[in-house]
Amino acid sequence: MSAVEVHLEELLGRVVRNAAGRPIAVIQDLRAHPQGEEYLIREIVLGELGFRARLLRMLQQLPTLRALGLGRQYRTRAIPWSWIDLSDPHYPRFHSSAPAEES
């Protein structure tokens, strides 16, 4: 069993591509669950691609601007850890065994 170490902070914000190389989503966060003494990553939280989506998300966090109709809810989804290959933190990609993920 081989063990590779990667850094969380190098993964956050990275674009995840599918097996064909097409950008699909952005790594928003990694969700860990305790198991005994350990914390294991069970899910990977993905967010929308694109600068505009992030800007609108930022505006949406201010209640006044939200009330004015600016910004819109940023969509995230949590997918199982096994669907993404994280071994190269600069180029995370969906495993070919993952179900076809088109955003």
Binding site: A3, E5, L8, D29, A32, H33, E38
Partner: protein
């Protein structure tokens, strides 16, 4: 627990309540066929600079070459040492064993001024 939100950039505190630093990095161990595990937290070194921009890291390395404590590597604290996660992250470590830059500034500069 979303580790980016709840662990990264949080304040790291030693067993007596003294600040050690901010968590600048989290080490994940990827294993074949098993979910990744949270292995350690990192603080200091040039991690923060690298997160801002690789060029900024190169610049801070050059700036601090030749002075400061002997090692400019980040401090690595195994996840097993984490005792409590709340307002800050408490670890079972003694700050005085690990605060290299703080002690360097104290010994070389601040400690030399009368009344420190």
């Amino acid at each position: 627990m979303d580790i980016g939100r709840e662990i990264l950039d949080q304040q790291l505190v030693d067993r007596t309540g003294v600040n050690i630093g901010k968590i600048d990095g989290v080490v994940l161990e990827l294993r074949d066929g098993l979910p990744p595990r949270v292995a350690a937290v990192l603080t200091g070194g040039h991690l923060l600079a690298r997160r801002l921009h690789p060029r900024i890291e190169a610049w801070t390395r050059r700036l601090t070459r030749g002075w400061g404590p002997r090692s400019h590597d980040p401090l690595r604290i195994p996840w097993s040492k984490v005792t409590k996660i709340g307002v800050d992250v408490r670890v079972d470590v003694d700050a005085h064993d690990v605060l290299s830059w703080e002690h360097w500034v104290r010994d070389r500069i601040i400690g030399r001024i009368p009344g420190a």
